[in-house]
């Protein structure tokens, strides 16, 4: 298991390199020239050329990438074109709130999704099951920005139940919770549908397994059969799904953070792309990609915890 995880860690190096390359190339393709932006509207052609040389933009593209790699490895992600602040520092400040928002979304959405899915599986074919299915489909189909805007319009603006914008402090403070509520609700809603549906499918399948019959034959109550015997096996595909869905959650974070003015990576990414702040945008892409890799790593580790067969397979 440890070897498997180490291997996993090693294989994420080429993935990271790929991310760096794609992020780097993407910004090469964008038809805005950073040197022109830095020089401003009054910049002369000579000035622009000068800035270009300073930034190393006149070197061949492969060399530019190589220099970029070297700098990244030293933890230097460059400076923002807009306010000249170090990108790494800005990212560090924005990372906390984004993780906070993710945690605040997952902490209610995942358990609720699992609960709904399990109850639906236990009442298969009944009204509750259909209601959950309808709800999941709605949850998947309704775009996050629409839900976010509705919440903003009604819960925050019209009824004034929640603050409109921004972060109110750490999660464990009342103000922090108050501020995180709407963005976390928006982001969590993306998650509930898929989690509930996957849980339902997995639990239905596991409930038909022979070992569930054994548990019943032992005299276990239906509640115990589901919680102690079915769920642990059923959670394996659910964990996989959550890992895969983290990608859409990161996408959702960009939207939720922008709508609710949450000072996280998502808003930073949107802002930097809009303002052609390309070192910042590259940094954001890098952080989001790293987040994805870390989550997948955690998912792999969780498999081992949930399923002893996986644990012993790669010993």
């Amino acid at each position: 298991m440890t070897r498997q995880l180490l291997w996993r860690l090693l294989t994420s190096i080429p993935v990271l390199l790929g991310v760096l390359l794609v992020g780097f190339l993407m910004l090469q393709v964008i038809p805005t020239d950073p040197a022109t932006i830095i020089a401003g509207p009054s910049g002369t052609a000579a000035e622009i050329e000068d800035i270009r040389r300073q930034l190393g933009l006149d070197a061949p593209i492969m060399m530019q990438f190589w220099f970029y790699l070297l700098r990244v490895m030293q933890g230097d992600l460059g400076r923002s074109i807009i306010n000249n602040a170090p990108v790494a520092g800005e990212l560090m400040t924005a990372l906390g709130p984004t993780i906070e928002l993710m945690v605040a979304s997952l902490i209610w959405a995942v358990p609720l999704g699992i609960l709904l899915g399990t109850l639906a599986a236990m009442r298969r074919g009944q009204v509750f099951d259909r209601a959950v299915t309808a709800l999941s489909v709605a949850g998947v189909s309704v775009p996050a920005f629409w839900v976010g805007l509705l919440l903003l319009q009604f819960a925050a603006f019209r009824w004034q139940l929640f603050p409109l914008q921004g972060r109110g402090g750490p999660l464990w403070t009342l103000s922090g919770l108050h501020h995180v509520a709407l963005p976390a609700l928006t982001l969590g809603l993306i998650f509930i549908g898929p989690v509930a549906r996957m849980t339902r499918t997995a639990v239905v399948e596991v409930l038909g397994a022979d070992f569930i019959r054994t548990a019943r034959a032992k005299g276990a109550s239906e509640f115990r059969v589901v919680t102690r015997h079915a769920l642990r096996t059923a959670l394996i595909p659910v964990v996989t799904l959550i890992g895969l869905q983290i990608g859409s959650l990161l996408g959702g974070a960009v939207i939720a953070e922008t709508i609710f003015g949450w000072p996280g990576i998502g808003r930073l990414a949107v802002g930097s792309i809009v303002s052609s702040d390309f070192p910042m945008a590259q940094g954001c892409i890098l952080v989001l990609a790293c987040g994805f890799i870390v989550v997948n790593f955690v998912v792999d580790a969780l498999y081992g915890l949930l399923d002893p067969r996986i644990r012993s397979k790669v010993r």
Partner: protein, 332 residues
């Protein structure tokens, strides 16, 4: 003595399922009883309803319509509320399943699964339950039972898993053990070991056994009495030696002659012609009649009741006692 009062008496048991093609009765009007300490084998081909019947005794068949009476020491299990059933399941009635590979929870240790069985029925602490679990594992002859407590099912061989299943079923000292094809999924040598183990445990605990099997060899080795099932009904029920020596139902005769034997050297096996009827389109009258070499007109008109042929030997055949009928027919 209480010998004459049955431990479990099944009366008019019917297990039906709703299907797209109509309601199907997998078990239809089954009657039998088992005395304390007795082993009743229930034999039949796959599809005869014997597995469904055994599961229905503990009401473990999902979405089935079960009617009739299942009297356990006079208490009708079919009228019990769900929570009361739990005292019987795994407590007074233990159950062993066919597939030890899939019937054990793959993500829990053997120890935890046995401990759970104990704690569900007895108000004992974790430590006492663990001690008990080691004890029952030891009874089943598993090598180093203490270490096996921490094993997961996938770390054990098929035979060891079945021993663990047996340990789990016996952990609460049940009065009745239902074993649904306990050796079918195992290697022949392991099969013999498991059967020996069951016999030994039965001798020590005095538990009655209902043994579901399609293997007449297993029947001969284990059973006191045998019930033969065909298409959801019991067609013959008799003490084991009586059944093997003088089968009365044509289906039983067919089963016995399709069994290979060591002493009958050049003897060819005689398979029963035809196949089990479709449960949605059962033949009128006797269900075996389309395949029966002895069938007469009446067989296709009326279903024969299960009636005494000799003391203790019941058969559901219009032509019973078959042997007598045939010899008389030969004389005429």
């Amino acid at each position: 003595m209480t010998q004459d009062i049955p431990l479990i008496a099944v009366r008019g048991l019917r297990v039906g399922f709703h299907t797209a093609g109509g309601t199907v009765a997998a078990v239809d009007d089954v009657n039998f009883s088992v005395r304390a300490g007795e082993t009743l084998a229930i034999v039949g081909e796959s599809g005869s309803g014997k597995s469904v019947m055994s599961l229905s005794l503990l009401r473990l068949v999902p979405s089935a319509i079960t009617t009739g009476e299942i009297l356990f020491r006079g208490d009708d299990l079919l009228t019990k509320p769900a929570h009361a059933m739990r005292d019987f399941r795994g407590g007074r009635i233990g159950m062993i399943f066919q597939e030890p590979n899939t019937s054990l929870n793959p993500v829990q240790t053997i120890g935890d699964q046995i401990v759970e069985a104990i704690q569900l029925h007895e108000a004992v602490g974790k430590a006492a339950a663990r001690a008990r679990a080691v004890e029952v594992l030891e009874l089943t002859g598993i090598p180093s039972p203490r270490a096996r407590m921490k094993s997961y099912p996938h770390e054990l061989s098929g035979g060891m898993r079945q021993r663990a299943m047996i340990a789990m079923a016996l952990a609460c000292r049940p009065e009745l053990l239902i074993a649904d094809e306990p050796t079918t999924a195992l290697d022949v040598t392991v099969q013999a070991q498991i059967l020996d183990l069951m016999r030994e445990l039965k001798a020590n605990s005095g538990a009655a056994i209902i043994l579901i099997t399609h293997d007449l060899g297993v029947v001969a080795e284990m059973a006191d009495r045998v019930a033969v099932m065909y298409a959801g009904r019991i067609v013959e029920i008799a003490p084991v030696t009586d059944l093997f020596d003088g089968p009365e139902h044509p289906y039983t005769i067919g089963l016995l002659s399709s069994m290979p034997s060591i002493d009958g050297d050049s003897e060819t096996l005689t398979p029963i012609e035809g196949s089990m009827p479709d449960p949605l389109a059962l033949p009128a009258g006797c269900r075996f009649q389309p395949r029966c070499p002895f069938a007469i007109k009446r067989c296709a008109m009326e279903a024969p009741p299960l009636e005494t042929v000799r003391p203790g030997h019941l058969s559901a055949c219009w032509r019973a006692p078959l042997l007598e009928t045939l010899t008389r027919g030969g004389q005429q």
